[in-house]
Amino acid sequence: MMFRATRLRRLAGTVTVAAMAVSLVACGSDDATSDGTVTLEFAQWWGAELPAGEFDKIINDFTAQNPGIKVKLLSAPYASTKQQLLTGAASKTLPDVVGLDGAWVNDFAEQGAITDLSKLMTDANYDASQLASQVQVEGKTYMIPVVNFVYPLFVNKDLLTKAGVQNVPTTRTEFLDAAKKISASGGDVKGWVLPLDTAVPNGVQNDVMSWLWASGGSMVAAGKPNLTSAPVKSTVEYVKSLNDAGVIAPGSLTMKEQDKVEKFTNGQVGMMIDSLAHINLIKKNKPDLNFEVAALPAEDGYTGERGIPYASWGIGISDSTKHKAEAFKFVSYLMSQETNAKLSTIANGFPGNKNAEPDFDNSDPLFKTAFDIYQQGYPANEFVGLPKSEDLMRSFAEQLQLVLTGKSSVDDALAKSQENWSSVIG
């Protein structure tokens, strides 16, 4: 009997260990503490892209002004931010305030993950006319662009000079010519770089469709894909002609945005289309690189306004947060004239508040140049607000890869893309 008693006690022991292991439920993050302070969780990828500590300063100013609100930054790289928001939305654990890319908005709004900001603006008597833009789905605002980044053409002046090209190209023909000369100037240097990786397919937006927009073209007409139109066709044919001329840096088909910037920074390519936000980075890694920014080349003879591609750091509020009023207070702080100007300046972006003026005196001269380009054209990014936009980019990237590897004609690829896109939009 002694035996059995001991044994049962041991048995009980092991069961308890097991039960403990599973039941040790950590306390969920309850954000309203006993003293009435509210903690807002803010998931974004911005902090990592600003000079160290700068974003914290801006946040600290807010908490100093609003003692009752604390802000907790959840930072992740751009690509994982999206996945985390998606899964967070599915399991109702979305942070109170979320950083958004315009391309995600439709999906999150559809999912009921982010809340209707129009209503919050009305509730707070917010003057929406100061906002430069709002991203809407079915007439309701879901995202406010906080800072906008344009994607001009970056040109390595030294490589251009070495290749004997006097002026920065402004038309497609000039660009092809310059790219050929740079590629012929020796070493492994190529004229242009095109990241077409399908894991993060935003090269379709930044590096391919930008050519279309720069010539005033459009990939969507009346809410339906318009990929078989002449402007889209001429864009893809132009990219193909660059490829056929051998002026695109090798490795395109699995190249990511980071690799693109890397190659430009290291002088391996002469020209790239890239976010203005990268000026700081390029200068940090290669202080002596002699480069400038210019408007994207347009079709020969095009005289209209040039669309300039842009991307935004957008902001939205979770639909499930208990602190919508406080969250909106934080959003309006970031959008306020003074804060928005400060944030835009350190990020080398353009403010989302119309009245905010970036501080050109204390920033890079290239930033001013880009602002002029921006003002002469119009911001263009047709992926903003589209459903499953990343998927649209991916299917387009795959068709483009077929064209570039000679496995498909431009017409077939566009017809196929049109078919793929039609099943998603329109």
């Binding site: 035996f3 059995r4 044994r7 041991r10 048995l11 009980a12 092991t14 069961v15 260990v17 097991a18 039960a19 292991a21 599973v22 996945q83 998606l86 939305a89 599915a90 999906d107 559809e110 999912q111 009921g112 492994d188 077409l196 990786d197 399908t198 894991a199 993060v200 840096a249 090798p250 490795g251 395109s252 088909l253 699995t254 190249m255 690799d259 190659k263 391996q268 499953k388 990343e390 998927d391 991916r394 795959e398 890869q401 077929l402 590897t405 496995k407």
Partner: protein, 311 residues
């Protein structure tokens, strides 16, 4: 090691003393010892599998509130998707070539490291060098090989300098080359575990077997064929099956090097499933794909369990 499955009842039943006491109590005690394991596996393995099977028969799961029963529609969709079939084929090539190479390299390295011709210190140093690829997390392995195999990277530079290639090879971005490139990286990253297991098994082969063979006047190759291989056979079989299974799980390496491209030439079942879920938001289709992948690996698992049992 893995080669030895938990003993089954008939062989491991301890002799008499326990028998006289109530068998019920003994059984309860055994279950008691097993309870933490069972609890963990039920909660974190069985439950999610049931959940994913549930998703696979519905539509609009996860991203929308109201999902509806969809029958086998998701399965039909996946099984008729050309990309899925391509992924299946790529995965088959990837895991079989990887496993073969792991086996050959692992065995060759293990035998060299087990040689009686060299001193202990020399062997210890080489053992450490050989184990190095195992120490790095897959994110790093992906990054380091992206760096090495970049068209302007050091591998192309060396090959060009040696005159082996005329111009830089696009290792990861040439559709005809990418699958071999990721397979190569996976071979590099995965052989050490095979090697260590085989090394352990080699050290366990009784030396008198070799001595007896040597007395018979056999040469090195005959001894390898008639002593080493038969002795290693159980280890090799279960390691090979386990490696096939583990390699088929590989996601991060593919995702971080080629992302499944170019032109789907490195699309695997894992990357296909991930894209369905996290870029197309087709969680129902993704779940169906996940279940199919699960069924396929269960076939491998069946052979694995059997190879364990046979010993």
């Amino acid at each position: 090691m893995t080669l030895t499955a938990p003993e089954t009842s008939t062989r491991s039943a301890p002799a008499a003393p326990g028998r006289s006491r109530s068998t019920l109590a003994r059984r309860l005690v055994a279950y008691g010892y097993l309870s933490p394991t069972v609890l963990l596996i039920v909660v974190l393995m069985v439950v999610p599998i049931v959940m994913v099977i549930g998703y696979s028969f519905r539509d609009n799961v996860i991203v929308q509130e109201n999902s509806v029963f969809a029958g086998f529609a998701n399965y039909t969709k996946v099984l008729t998707d050309a990309n899925f079939l391509a992924a299946l084929k790529n995965t088959a090539v990837f895991i079989s070539v990887s496993t073969m190479a792991h086996l050959v390299l692992g065995l060759a390295f293990a035998m060299m490291l087990n040689t009686p011709l060299l001193g202990g210190v020399t062997k210890a140093i080489f053992r450490i060098v050989y184990i190095l690829p195992w120490l790095f997390t897959i994110a790093v392995i992906a990054v380091i090989w992206r760096l090495l195999l970049d068209p302007a990277g050091v591998v192309n530079h060396v090959l060009q300098t040696l005159g082996l290639i005329q111009e830089g090879v696009n290792w990861f971005s040439d559709p005809g080359m990418a699958l071999w490139a990721v397979t190569f990286v996976n071979i590099w990253a995965g052989y050490p575990f095979f090697m260590i297991s085989l090394l352990a098994a080699l050290q366990g082969i009784p030396t008198d077997l070799y001595e007896a063979a040597a007395v018979d006047g056999t040469n090195w190759f005959q001894r390898f064929l008639h002593v080493t291989l038969p002795q290693l056979r159980p280890v090799i079989i279960s390691m090979a099956v386990l490696d096939l299974i583990w390699t088929s799980h590989q996601f991060a390496l593919i995702w971080m090097t080629t992302g499944g491209g170019p032109l789907n030439s490195t699309e695997m079942l894992s990357t296909f499933t991930y894209k369905q879920a996290f870029s197309e938001y087709e969680f129902a289709t993704a779940s169906a794909a996940a279940v199919i992948v699960l069924l396929l690996t269960m076939v491998l698992a069946f052979f694995y369990v059997r190879s364990q049992r046979e010993q």
